[in-house]
């Protein structure tokens, strides 16, 4: 599994909510993509994650 471009250990039964908790990410401040599915932080579903999934967790920062 890839999380933000880095390999991440996958375990049986891992869900998106569990991953965010594991990574210490507060969902309401971020957006998440699993493959081509995009979720606002506040509406991240607790979907199961597969070993081949690519997860992106992003936030808003200053930029021009």
């Amino acid at each position: 599994m890839q999380v933000n471009g880095q390999p991440h250990p996958h375990r049986e039964g891992l869900t998106l909510h569990a991953l965010l908790r594991e990574l210490n990410v507060q969902p309401e401040r971020v957006a998440v993509a699993v493959g081509d599915d995009f979720y606002p932080g506040a509406r991240v579903p607790d979907r199961p994650l597969e070993d081949h999934d690519t997860v992106e967790i992003v936030r808003i920062i200053g930029g021009g």
């Binding site: 933000n4 507060q26 993509a33 995009f38 920062i61 200053g62 930029g63 021009g64």
Partner: protein, 271 residues
């Protein structure tokens, strides 16, 4: 100062013609004060991966009064159309806003946009319901193609991003402005308020400024100065400039000057 004509982008109407970036500010407090002093109503933001296991930093969105500003997430850092489309989708999820400042920039040295990739990404994003504001070189043919693709604006550069070199593309900008059917927002490279005034005087509908304000000694003072520059430029455009002429033309009547005798002319010949 009389109110200027409003600016409409993507069906929304704004009274300010100054868009502001939120990058490079020393802290959120200065940024907020600068936004306030500029009178801006549209602010750009960027999307980045969160640093995993590094929680606690206050988010930009917490520092912005979202009721006052139209957020304009950018795709800065994207090198291809595909990356830009994906970042726009992440931005929409992160902000709930479907506006995107489209940047497809494969070149790290000059930060020049890829016209082909930008057009391709714009077509995809318009098809997915985004309000697309593409960053481009001042190329009139490309600008018309982006308009036909359904972009809300075209945003030609004045000079390289963050360079502060001012409007170095004035002649090309004129060709982009000529016959434009969407607002033209001059973006990137403006260094001082007179650069912004110059763009607006030429007929640009708005400007986007970030580094010139964030890196000023006094960002809040410079934000105010840019607001004045933009107002002056727009007011001048609406007022219609004089025609340029090659030589001088006296401002005072030439007849009736109470002259002294011309010393070059002999006394006998004087009238």
């Amino acid at each position: 100062m009389p109110a200027l004509d409003p600016l409409t982008i993507g069906g929304q109407t704004f009274t300010s013609r100054l868009l502001l970036g939120t990058g490079k500010f020393h802290d959120f407090h200065v940024m907020r004060e600068a936004l306030e002093a500029s009178g801006t109503q549209i602010v750009t933001v960027a999307i980045r991966r969160v640093e995993l296991n590094a929680p606690g930093h206050a988010g930009l969105l917490d520092a912005l009064d979202l009721g006052r500003y139209q957020l304009l997430p950018n795709t800065a850092g994207c090198r291809t159309a595909e990356e830009a489309v994906r970042v726009a989708q992440l931005a929409r999820a992160a902000t709930g806003v479907n506006w995107v400042k489209l940047e497809v920039i494969p070149d790290a040295r000059w930060l020049l946009p890829d016209p082909v990739g930008t057009l391709r990404a714009a077509e995809t994003l318009v098809g997915e319901g985004f309000t697309v504001l593409p960053y481009v070189q001042p190329d009139a043919v490309l600008a018309r193609a982006l308009e036909r693709a359904g972009c809300a604006t075209v945003m030609p550069l004045a000079s390289p991003i963050g360079s502060g070199r001012g409007l170095r593309t004035g002649e090309l900008l004129r060709t982009v402005l000529d016959g434009a059917s969407v607002p033209i927002v001059v973006d990137a490279g403006l260094g001082v308020p007179s650069d912004a005034a110059q763009a607006l005087e030429a007929g640009a509908d708005a400007v986007l400024v970030n580094t010139a304000i964030a890196e000023a000694r006094d960002p809040v003072g410079m934000a105010h100065a840019f607001a004045l520059g933009v107002q002056a430029g727009r007011a001048a455009f609406l007022a219609g400039r004089m025609a340029e002429r090659e030589g001088a033309s006296p401002s005072s009547p030439v007849a009736g000057v109470p002259r002294l005798p011309d010393p070059e002319v002999p006394l006998a010949e004087r009238g």
